[in-house]
């Protein structure tokens, strides 16, 4: 019988990956996601699966590239500077239509930054990040249990759409402990076959996995096929959550850790008679433009709150356009906004 266990965010993501049937995990140590490696190092080998501590982040993403081409569920994880190093590999995965899960436990940036929680990699995650016309599905958990659920989902979506999927967490989610009901494990042998994978061509035509075509017409077709897939993803995979938005005059738009904090702010504001709601994108790519557009015609103000200088804010403004006011409140450099601080911002924009 399933039971609740107290686990750290990094460990929950690792355990969920194992339960999702991740066969090969490759990573390089970096704070604040070191516990993710530890959980994988402790558990993958005893299940007959692969854990490799790579010599660099570039090596790790390339190992993912290879393992994915060979047809297994595979994952890498890192934190911001390490994710930057993986970007070339992610672009190749996207270009080659290869499924993979990449975990970014975001820390303060740019450059070396620090090891405190941040959301400053939103642009990198949702707008491509690497070179070329590509996207990856980006899932933004706001609690430790949700980090586990979304990791399971990430593997499903990666295989279904043959695309890299990113878990966009942050240092707080990675380090925080919460009671978690772990999902039932998937049997890797029971997963749908990957007829495209490079598994040995005996008795069939060879599978060729490429991210290039020197002929512009050919590359155009490849890109059009990718774009068609992105359209399908936009149609079918948008996920978001609304809290107390039915009668709201103002809503906070926030993802991840900030959305979790904003839930407390909704309670605090309601206690003071302020009709505050929360709009939380769960997929930040594809961004829930339509639901936010619909909501924005019913409210006065959509206040975006982020641990960045206003990155998701751009998507919020695209969705809202002129239908509501779109102020912004952000904290930078690893500073986490407090419920009081957010409530103060809310009050500046009501009445």
């Amino acid at each position: 019988m399933a039971k609740r266990v107290l686990m750290r965010g990094n460990e929950v993501i690792a355990e969920a990956a194992i339960r999702a049937g991740c066969q090969c995990y490759f990573a390089y140590p970096i704070t604040p996601q070191a516990e993710l490696l530890e959980h994988m190092a402790r558990n993958m080998p005893r299940l007959g699966r692969t854990f490799v501590q790579a010599e660099s982040e570039v090596a790790a993403i390339s190992m993912v590239h290879g393992a994915s081409a060979a047809g297994v569920r595979t994952m890498t994880s890192s934190s911001s500077p390490g994710i930057s190093l993986k970007m070339e590999g992610i672009s190749y995965l996207a270009g080659s239509s290869l499924p993979a899960v990449i975990v970014n436990v975001v820390r303060g940036g740019p450059g070396l930054g620090n090891i405190a929680p941040a959301q400053c990699d939103y642009f990198q995650a949702t707008k491509g990040g690497g070179h070329g016309d590509y996207h990856m599905i980006v899932l933004a958990p706001s609690t430790v249990p949700e980090a586990g659920e979304l990791t399971m989902l990430a593997f499903e979506l990666a295989d279904r759409y043959r695309t890299p999927v990113m878990i966009l967490a942050d240092g707080m989610l990675g380090q925080m402990m919460e009671p978690v009901l772990l999902p039932d494990p998937v049997d890797p042998a029971a997963l749908p076959a990957k007829p495209w994978a490079a598994t040995g061509a005996k008795g069939r035509e060879p599978n060729i996995i490429l991210s290039f075509d020197l002929d512009p017409e050919g590359l155009r077709r490849m890109n059009l096929e990718l774009q068609a897939r992105y359209r399908t993803i936009r149609e079918k995979e948008v996920r978001h959550e609304e809290t107390e938005t039915e009668d709201a005059e103002i809503v906070i738009a926030a993802h991840g850790t900030v959305a979790r904090i904003a839930k407390s702010v909704v309670r605090m504001a309601r206690a003071e008679g302020i009709r505050l709601g929360l709009f939380r994108p769960i997929t930040v790519w594809p961004f829930p433009y339509e639901p936010l557009r619909a909501l924005s015609s019913r409210v006065e103000t959509v206040l975006t709150v982020e641990m960045s200088a206003g990155q998701m804010w751009e998507d919020v403004r695209l969705a809202v356009a002129e239908r509501a006011k779109t102020p912004f409140y952000g904290e930078l450099g690893g500073v986490v906004p407090t419920p009081k601080g957010i409530l103060r911002e809310v009050k500046r924009h009501v009445g």
């Binding site: 140590p29 704070t31 010599e55 500077p81």
Partner: protein, 286 residues
């Protein structure tokens, strides 16, 4: 010049009793022995515990990306050949993340000194196996012991004909400082691998290393490539320290670059004169 010249007021972040303090003392002592003024020196590093060393030295400092100290140092040296450029890196930063750069520096031969704090693990991220962790050693991640062989960088450097290949010990400050003096004097790439027991995450105490460290005999000829290769290999029974190898003279990267350009360095160590500072400031006051 006194070692104190290079002391600054930056708060030290190493663990109490860290053997990196020995390397820091040796670096300061070597710079003093060479009579180099702080403005004539640039310490370059990436990320890791070793990469913090430049923070604790009063000199020019460049602290850049993880694993990329050697390319940064190459750029600094080619822009300002008058600077004495030292890289302080570790086995993770220098042999893992940036291993490729070290290989190509061996080919390019910039006039820089690479000091590797080799503690046989990743200390900044709290004790994972590194490229030099011995086979079988249990770590924070390698629970049942490291399975892959340690990298043989000193032997690689010798095979590449590196002009100065040495091994030092963090607990032998005078000996290490002397090695650094010679490494810095050497024109071209010098590689000094420093055995640096980690008192926090390491499996074995400094005493274990102390027992095995032995200075090279006086009759070791550093031009003897075969003998050097034998001494360079990682071994656990005895750990020879000293100058293992001095390769034949080779063209130095910055020299080649200067010959092909104006012959004049892009930057110099000449202090900017007072009237020039005044005239430059005046431009902002307009």
């Amino acid at each position: 010049m006194e070692p104190e010249t290079y002391r600054n007021e930056v708060e030290n972040q190493w663990c109490p009793g860290c053997t990196n303090f020995g390397i820091l003392a040796a670096v300061r002592k070597a710079l003093a022995a060479l009579d180099l003024a702080p403005h004539e020196v640039c310490l370059v590093s990436g990320i890791g515990q070793a990469a913090k060393l430049p923070h604790y030295v009063r000199s020019n400092v460049f602290n850049g990306l993880h694993g990329r100290a050697i390319p940064a140092a190459t750029g600094i040296k080619v822009a300002n050949p008058a600077l004495t450029v030292l890289v302080t890196t570790g086995d993770g930063d220098g042999y893992g993340e940036g291993g490729n750069h070290l290989l190509h520096a061996l080919r390019r031969n910039p006039d820089i000194t690479v000091v590797v704090h080799n503690n046989e693990l990743y200390a900044l991220t709290k004790g994972q196996g590194s490229p030099t962790t011995p086979v079988g050693e249990k770590t924070r991640l390698q629970f049942t012991g490291v399975e892959i062989e340690p990298i043989e960088i000193l032997a690689t450097a010798i095979v590449h004909g590196c002009g100065f290949v040495a091994r030092g010990y963090a607990g032998e400050i005078d000996h290490l400082s002397d090695l650094l003096v010679q490494a810095i004097r050497h024109r071209g790439l010098s590689l000094v691998d420093v055995v640096q027991p980690c008192v926090t995450w390491g499996e074995r105490p400094p005493a274990w290393y102390r027992e095995r460290i032995e200075k090279l005999p006086a009759d070791h000829d550093p031009r003897d490539r075969a003998a050097a290769l034998g001494l360079a290999a990682s071994q656990r029974e005895r750990i020879p320290i000293g100058i293992l190898y001095e390769g034949p003279p080779r063209l130095v990267f910055a020299d080649r670059h200067l010959k092909r350009t104006s012959g004049r360095a892009l930057a110099s160590l000449e202090p900017v004169k007072e009237d020039e500072i005044t005239s430059r400031l005046a431009r902002f006051r307009r």
